[in-house]
């Protein structure tokens, strides 16, 4: 990931010089010069052979009319989808079903693990960013939708597995690799993954109990029922509670939490507040407001490259029964 020629932004002041001030340039000029140099090189092709001219071209060829439906993961909560169609889909529909008047061309995103779907009206060609759930499996389709009529699938994409965003709850069965929640929390802590260490320690070796407690806390928070968030992982619910309790607005959670949970929170936004989230955490997990972590979206900048991934950090650690963070690692 070496950003070998990344020499901007860190040099904002006008530069002093060893010689004299007339020749000072700013970083802006520096970057512009870099770009101009490449451009000059390519433009220089104007007066040369046809082959040189042809190769100086940086025009992308026109993509041929093809059926394309490709899904790519960006993050566990965001997918990119692009599609195009070889021929007019409405003509195809007309040939098959007669009048297509009531039908709308849609992209349909199917969560294959949870068996839920969402549809979005689209054009015959385009791109889309989907907000999705982590630890699931997705496929996108292009098709025709009309209320009270059969859905007509035209084409479908590859499938994408979104990864889990936190440690697995599964422990190895072999005695050599078995690890208690307390020790695993230490392992995570010592590895710099303090937020995950906190969560693992909190859940301990009684995940069902903590899941039930989380559901009770969340139901109280949103003034809803367990069934409203039955398919959502309890650690994701606690994570959202923590984020809200730390003062984040619901809108800022859009790409940080699973899409289904975000939709649920968005629907209840008027009832939600940081105070209510903090109260739920206090009542159900004995977590004090001052112990709530601050989520860090990006890690520290590293030298000579972009932001390398560093684990999320706790603003303040809290001892969970049986777990004392062991590292002095900051």
């Amino acid at each position: 990931m070496s950003d070998f020629d990344s020499k901007k932004d860190l040099f904002e002041e006008e530069m002093p010089i060893v010689f004299g001030l007339d020749d000072v340039v700013s970083s802006g000029e520096m970057i512009k010069n870099v770009e101009v140099s490449a451009a000059v090189a390519l433009d220089a092709a104007e007066d040369v052979s046809p082959v040189f001219k042809e190769l100086a071209s940086v025009e992308l060829p026109e993509l041929p009319k093809e059926n394309r439906a490709r899904l790519q993961m960006q993050t566990p909560n965001r997918l990119f989808f692009y599609w195009s169609m070889k021929s007019n889909p409405f003509q195809t529909l007309r040939r098959a079903f007669g009048t297509p008047d009531s039908y709308t061309l849609v992209a349909r995103l199917v969560d294959l693990k949870r068996n839920v779907e969402a549809i979005y009206p689209i054009e015959a060609e385009g791109t889309w960013w989907f907000n999705v759930d982590s630890d699931s499996r997705y496929q996108a389709e292009i098709g025709f939708y009309a209320p009270n009529r059969p859905y007509v699938r035209v084409m479908f994409s590859n499938t994408i597995d979104t990864p889990r965003k936190r440690p697995s709850s599964r422990v190895a069965t072999s005695a050599d690799w078995k690890i208690s929640a307390r020790v695993f929390a230490e392992v995570l802590d010592i590895s710099g993954f303090k937020q995950d260490a906190f969560e693992v320690a909190l859940a301990g070796d009684r995940p069902q109990e903590i899941q039930a407690e989380t559901h009770r806390a969340f139901a109280k928070f949103v003034e809803g029922n367990d069934s409203d968030f039955a398919g959502i992982a309890s650690d994701e619910l606690r994570y959202a509670l923590m984020l809200i309790a730390s003062g984040l607005q619901i809108e800022h959670l859009r790409y940080r939490i699973d899409a289904s949970l975000f939709a649920l929170l968005e629907a209840s936004v008027a009832k939600l507040s940081a105070e209510r989230a903090a109260a739920a955490l206090k009542e159900h997990f004995d977590i004090n407001a001052e112990d709530i972590y601050e989520h860090e979206e990006t890690g520290e900048q590293v030298i000579g490259a972009s932001l390398v991934n560093f684990p999320r950090r706790l603003k303040r650690k809290r001892s969970v029964s049986g777990y004392n963070p062991v590292s002095s690692f900051r």
């Binding site: 990931m1 070496s2 070998f4 020499k7 901007k8 002041e13 006008e14 530069m15 060893v18 007339d22 340039v25 520096m30 970057i31 010069n33 870099v34 140099s37 490449a38 090189a41 390519l42 082959v51 040189f52 190769l55 071209s57 992308l60 060829p61 394309r68 790519q72 993961m73 960006q74 993050t75 965001r78 990119f80 791109t127 597995d161 979104t162 990864p163 889990r164 697995s168 599964r170 190895a172 050599d176 020790v183 230490e186 392992v187 995570l188 590895s191 710099g192 979206e297 890690g299 900048q301 590293v302 030298i303 000579g304 972009s306 932001l307 390398v308 991934n309 684990p311 590292s327 900051r330």
Partner: protein, 544 residues
């Protein structure tokens, strides 16, 4: 058995930048700067450490594009010219500072001496062949050289099985060409992993890969030793994940060693400080300013404005780097002790992967740090032992079976840097080329590998263009907002060239064979001469 093991892994990679169509080209400086500041010093240090009996041991990826550039005659000649030009500027500076800026004289002298030594190493000791120098270090047991994706393609964003496989297999073949053996390990480009990639690696004979931390920490089931021991995927391929603590100590712009006040300031460069007329003989024909590598200031302080930076003092920096190396080892001993306690006696392994270009280019004193580190590790303590991932696999220590999770080492740990609103436009073109490559390779699969027919030339060159378009460097630079125009042009031009060649093939009658006009033949020859990476390539790697 030592208290703990430590595995330094350096990732040396630059995108393939070679422009024979121009007498000089700005972006070729990336390679030239890295040779002077990183590769030559590291090779020299490793050889000296070995000759002194310090037994340095580490893994190093020298990516296929870098190998190809280091072995390229044109770039070799241009680099020699580049270095001679720098020496001439440094000598001019020695006179000038002696006359009118005596506070910089010692630094000017340092540059004359080090650049002259570099030229001597380049011409005489290494005979302008750094690939051989690296190979020699592997033969002597200093380096375990690992491979990378053929052109550093971001594998989870490559759309077809065949195109992913080509990134791996072309890399392995290229490794064998340069290093004369099968690679044991691979640096997955950007440490980008998704389940299934290990099957491609196993098919190519690769035993292990390097991943980011959460690939293992979030893997299934929970890892008994976290990232401080490797795991093996269910198919038997081993995974070594990045230790966060050592990453931060060496790499963090906030708290890392390279930010020390005494170290050389990167952003004050004579190419931007000196009058244009003075510099002109040392610039390219276009006369544009650029970084030249002679820098006279120290960091001085994190918040000190550029105009208030103080002169660089090499001796003070050297003392500091020795101190930092000692501190780093002390921290490793503490870390190993703590891990061993948590692991109930199991010896931990700390894997520390870094971009090689951090050491020397971004952090001028970085090669000295590595030098001090290995010396002190060997002579001043016995608790930590430096090993490579391959050594660990050979140790016979048991390894847990686990399915790692999708991840990369980029910002936020997934694929956002390489797939976002700024660069998503690239993928429909790349993916189309991937499908088209396999379709055309399948059509011509019956040709003999030695067939001199035009079809073979066209398909091999299409494979090169596709691989070059897939370099993750272009999407990365576009996201970063640096050299956006160049990166965009490179991606576009490789797709354009791929399309030109594919049309020549598609326009022919399969039975009668390809027939090209004079201009098309000239075009093919010109593309071959420019994008001459992987002369050994065999397009059948794309067949279904």
């Amino acid at each position: 058995m030592p208290l703990g093991y430590f595995s330094l892994v350096l990732h040396a990679h630059l995108p393939f930048v070679r422009h024979p169509e121009y007498p000089e080209f700005l972006e070729e400086d990336w390679l030239f700067e890295a040779i002077t500041e990183v590769y030559l010093p590291l090779i020299f240090i490793f050889q000296n450490l070995h000759e002194a009996g310090a037994s340095p041991r580490l893994a190093m990826n020298i990516s296929p594009p870098l190998c190809e550039m280091l072995a390229d005659k044109l770039l070799e000649e241009r680099y020699t010219r580049h270095l001679e030009n720098l020496i001439s500027l440094a000598k001019k500076e020695l006179n000038r500072t002696d006359r009118e800026a005596v506070e910089f004289y010692d630094v000017a002298r340092m540059y004359v001496e080090s650049l002259t030594a570099s030229l001597n190493l380049w011409n005489n000791r290494y005979q302008r062949n750094l690939v051989n120098a690296f190979r020699d270090l592997q033969e002597k047991g200093v380096l375990e050289i690992i491979t990378c994706g053929a052109t550093h393609g971001f594998l989870p964003l490559v759309s077809t099985h065949e195109a992913r496989r080509a990134q791996i297999e072309v890399a392995v073949t290229n490794y064998k060409k340069h290093f004369g053996r099968q690679p044991r390990g691979i640096w997955l480009p950007e440490c980008a992993y998704e389940p299934g990639i290990e099957d491609l690696l196993k098919d190519a004979g690769i035993e292990y890969f390097i991943s980011d931390t959460h690939a293992i920490l979030y893997g299934d089931p929970r890892p008994r030793y976290g990232v401080h021991a490797p795991v093996v995927c269910p198919n038997g391929t081993a995974v070594f994940a990045r230790d966060v603590e050592t990453s931060q100590q060496v790499w963090s712009a906030e708290i890392g060693y390279p930010g020390n006040d005494l170290y050389r300031e990167f952003y004050r460069d004579i190419g931007w400080d000196a009058p244009l007329e003075y510099l002109r003989p040392h610039l390219h024909e276009d006369g544009a300013r650029r970084h030249l590598g002679l820098k006279y200031y120290r960091i001085t302080g994190k918040d000190v404005p550029q105009q208030q930076k103080q002169p660089y003092m090499p001796e003070l920096a050297r003392e500091k780097v020795a101190e930092n190396a000692m501190h780093f080892i002390g921290e490793r001993i503490k870390q190993a002790r703590q891990l061993r306690e948590t692991f109930e006696g199991h010896p931990p392994l700390v894997v520390s992967p870094y971009d090689a270009e951090l050491f020397g280019h971004w952090w001028y004193e970085g090669p000295q740090f590595i030098d001090f580190f290995f010396r002190k590790l060997h002579w001043d303590q016995s608790e930590i032992e430096a090993i490579t991932p391959g050594d660990f696999l050979d140790s016979g220590l048991p390894i847990q079976i686990q399915q790692p999770t999708a991840s990369s080492w980029g910002e936020n740990g997934y694929y956002k840097v390489w797939l976002n609103e700024d660069n998503a436009w690239m993928y429909p073109y790349q993916h189309d080329a991937e499908r088209r490559m396999t379709a055309l390779a399948n059509r011509c699969r019956v040709l003999s590998p030695d067939d001199p027919k035009l079809e073979t030339r066209l398909l091999n060159q299409m494979a090169r263009e596709l691989l070059l378009a897939q370099s993750s460097d272009w999407a990365f630079q576009i996201y970063q907002g640096t050299t956006v125009q160049y990166s965009t042009s490179r991606f576009r031009s490789h797709i354009h060239r791929f399309d030109l060649l594919a049309k020549m093939l598609e326009g022919s009658n399969a039975a009668a064979g390809v027939s090209l006009g004079a201009e098309q033949l000239e075009l093919l020859a010109e593309i071959e001469s420019r994008d001459n990476i992987f002369q050994e390539i065999e397009y059948r790697v794309y067949c279904t």
